[in-house]
C-alpha cells in the first residue's frame, strides 16, 4: 500500500490543496488504484512557503498545483505502482 498525503494546513489550503485532493481522488478512482493507494490529509508537512506540499511514503514533494497534479500522479504514483 502506498501512502499519499496531501497537506491541508492553512498555507496549502489557501493554494487550493482541497481541489488537489479531489483531483487526486478522482485520478486514483479512474485508474482503479483504490486498494493500492491510501490517500490521506495532513495538517502541515513543514514546507508552507513552497506551494502545496505532498508526501508519498517518505518522500516530500513541494510545489504541487492544479497545473502539475496530473504529472505528479503519473510519474510518482502510477509509474511506481505499475
Amino acid at each position: 500500500m502506498m501512502n499519499v498525503y496531501v497537506c491541508i494546513g492553512s498555507s496549502c489550503h489557501q493554494k487550493s490543496s482541497y481541489s488537489i485532493m479531489k483531483e487526486l481522488k478522482s485520478l486514483i478512482d479512474e485508474n482503479g488504484l483504490e486498494d493500492k493507494v491510501s490517500l490521506n490529509s495532513a495538517f502541515c508537512l513543514g514546507h508552507c512557503a513552497e506551494g502545496v506540499t505532498m508526501k508519498i511514503d517518505e518522500d516530500i514533494i513541494t510545489g504541487v498545483g492544479l497545473g502539475n497534479i496530473e504529472d505528479v500522479f503519473r510519474n510518482r504514483i502510477l509509474k511506481v505502482i505499475r
Binding site: 482541497y18 485532493m21 483504490e34
Partner: protein, 485 residues
C-alpha cells in the same frame, strides 16, 4: 502598551510568565519558584496592597495555581483566601446623598415597612429588609444603593456565597459551572483559574522540536478579537508566535465548529428540539439545574473536541493543546471522552504569558496564514453565530421548511439561558433550538480574553469574511472525501 483591561490580569500574567520561564528552562525547583514572589514584587513600596509581604504571599498562592493548584479539588476555579479582601458590603444602604426630603418615596415603596426617617435621614431596619430594591428605584436622589459583592454579582449560576465565619468568598461546588465570571470580576483577583501551562511546556520540550511527536495548537475563533487596540498585531503574526513557542502547526477550532454545525442540523431535524452543546459552562448548567433537559442537549462534541479528534485520527501520536478565552474548557478537557483527544487547555491570557516567557515580540513577527474554516465556523465566537451556522447548514442540506422549520432562540449570557431553560422545562418554550452561551456576547466575552472591547464582534465578523471557503459544506468537504474512501 498593555494587553489587558485590568491590573488583576496584569498580575496574573506576570506570575504565569515567570513560572513559564522556569518551565521552559526546566528549572521548576522549589527554590526558584520561591523566588518568583520577589521578582514580581520587588523590594520597595507596595503596588497594590498594604505591604509587599502580603503581596508576595498572594503571589505565592498564584504560583501554586500556575502549577495546577490543589489537585484534590476537581474544580478548575479556586478562591485564593488570602487575597479575598472580605468586601464589607451588605445589602441595601442609604448613602450621604439622602437629603431627608419630605416625599419619603422610599418609605412608601417599601413593602416591609423597613424604612423610617430619623433626624431627616432614611434608616433601614435590617431585620425587616428583604433587599427587594424598590426603595433604590424610588429615591429621586439615587441615594439608596444595593451593594453586593462583585463575585456574587458576577455569578449568575448562584454558586458564590460568603463564608459566615471567615467572611471570605466561597464556591458552592454543587452549583459552580466553572464559567469563570467571578475570576474576571473579582476586583482583588482573589479567585483564579488553575493553570496547566507547565504541562503544555513539558509537552513542547519533550517533543524535541516536534521530532518525537508533533504538538498541534487549536485556536478558538475568539482568537481574532484579542488585540483590538493594537492594530500592529495581526492574527497572522500571532500564528507565527505560537509556532515559535514550539508548536508544529496552528489549526482553527472553527473548522471543528463547521463540522458540528453540519451534524447538529441533522440532529435537530431528527429530534425536533435541541440545545447547543458547544459552551461547556452552559452544558454544566443544564446538568446541574435542569436534569430533565439533559437528553435534549445536542450529542455533538464541542468544536474543540471535534477538531482535536480529527487531528488525532490523522496523527495518533500527536499532542493537542487548545487555546481559548474560556475557563470552563479546562474542566471540559478533564472529562474522559474529551481528554482522549485534548491533551491540554490554555487560555489566551496564558498564551500571552508564554510569549512573554519566551521573549517573543508579537509586533515584529512575520505573518503565517490561518485558514481552515468557513465564515460560519468562525462566527461561533460571538453570540448568534452558532445559530446562523446551523441555519446555514439546514439550507445547504436543502431541508425544506415543511419538513423542519427551525425556530431558534439565541441566549446571550447565563441569565438569558436560565429564562429559556425554565420555560423549556415547563414545556412552554415556543422555539425549538436553544443556542446557549454562558458568557455575555458569547466566547468573545470569555473570562480569559485578554481584552473585552466593544469592537470584538466586528473583529470576529471580519475575520469570518476573510475565510477562503464560502460554505460549511466546502470547508468540511475534505473530510467527507476521506471517509468515503
Amino acid at each position: 502598551m498593555t494587553y489587558f483591561d485590568n491590573n488583576v490580569q496584569q498580575l496574573k500574567y506576570e506570575v504565569l510568565s515567570e513560572v513559564g520561564k522556569l518551565a521552559f528552562e526546566n528549572e521548576l525547583t522549589p527554590e526558584k519558584l520561591m523566588g518568583v514572589a520577589n521578582t514580581v514584587i520587588p523590594d520597595g513600596n507596595p503596588r497594590m496592597r498594604c505591604c509587599i509581604y502580603k503581596e508576595r504571599a498572594i503571589v505565592n498562592e498564584r504560583v501554586k495555581m500556575a502549577l495546577g493548584g490543589n489537585a484534590k479539588n476537581p474544580n478548575v476555579v479556586e478562591v485564593l483566601e488570602i487575597a479575598c479582601d472580605e468586601c464589607p458590603v451588605d445589602g441595601i444602604q442609604v448613602t450621604q446623598a439622602c437629603r431627608g426630603c419630605i416625599a419619603h418615596r422610599c418609605m412608601n415603596a417599601c413593602p416591609r415597612q423597613a424604612i423610617t426617617v430619623v433626624d431627616r435621614h432614611a434608616v433601614i431596619d435590617k431585620t425587616k429588609c428583604v433587599e427587594c430594591g424598590r426603595c433604590v428605584e424610588a429615591c429621586s436622589y439615587s441615594a439608596i444603593i444595593k451593594q453586593r459583592r462583585p463575585c456574587v454579582n458576577a455569578c449568575k449560576a448562584d454558586a458564590l456565597t460568603i463564608d459566615k465565619e471567615t467572611k471570605k468568598a466561597k464556591i458552592k461546588e454543587e452549583k459552580c459551572i466553572s464559567c469563570g465570571a467571578c475570576v474576571y470580576r473579582c476586583p482583588f483577583g482573589a479567585i483564579m483559574d488553575k493553570s496547566f501551562i507547565t504541562k503544555a511546556i513539558r509537552m513542547l520540550v519533550e517533543s524535541r522540536n516536534n521530532e518525537v511527536y508533533k504538538v498541534y495548537a487549536i485556536v478558538a475563533p475568539a482568537f481574532a478579537s484579542q488585540y483590538p487596540n493594537i492594530p500592529q498585531i495581526t492574527t497572522e503574526k500571532v500564528v507565527t508566535a505560537i509556532k515559535k513557542l514550539g508548536f508544529h502547526s496552528v489549526i482553527e477550532a472553527a473548522l471543528g465548529a463547521d463540522m458540528v454545525a453540519y451534524s447538529e442540523a441533522d440532529e435537530l431535524v431528527e429530534k425536533g428540539f435541541l440545545t447547543s452543546s458547544c459552551c461547556p459552562a452552559f452544558v454544566r448548567y443544564i446538568k446541574k439545574n435542569y436534569p430533565d433537559l439533559v437528553e435534549n442537549i445536542s450529542h455533538n462534541p464541542s468544536p474543540m473536541m471535534q477538531m482535536a479528534k480529527v487531528i488525532k485520527e490523522l496523527d495518533p501520536y500527536s499532542k493537542v493543546v487548545f487555546f481559548g478565552p474560556c475557563i470552563a474548557k479546562k474542566a471540559e478537557a478533564h472529562q474522559e471522552d474529551v481528554s482522549q483527544y485534548v491533551d491540554c487547555v490554555l487560555t489566551f491570557e496564558e498564551m500571552q504569558a508564554l510569549f512573554n516567557a519566551k521573549g517573543i515580540d508579537l509586533v515584529s513577527m512575520e505573518e503565517t496564514p490561518l485558514d481552515n474554516a468557513s465564515y460560519f465556523g468562525r462566527i461561533f465566537a460571538r453570540s448568534g453565530g452558532l445559530t446562523e451556522a446551523v441555519a446555514e447548514a439546514l439550507k445547504e442540506k436543502d431541508i425544506p421548511k415543511e419538513e423542519f422549520d427551525c425556530n431558534p432562540l439565541v441566549c446571550n449570557g447565563l441569565s438569558e439561558c436560565r429564562t429559556a431553560l425554565l420555560k423549556a422545562g415547563k414545556g412552554k418554550l415556543a422555539e425549538n433550538f436553544i443556542e446557549g452561551m454562558a458568557c455575555d456576547g458569547g466566547c468573545i466575552g470569555g473570562p480569559a480574553c485578554l481584552n473585552h472591547s466593544t469592537k470584538d464582534r466586528t473583529f470576529v465578523d471580519n475575520y469570518g469574511k476573510k475565510a477562503v471557503e464560502r460554505t460549511i459544506g466546502d470547508a468540511i468537504s475534505i473530510f467527507e472525501n476521506e471517509s468515503k474512501q
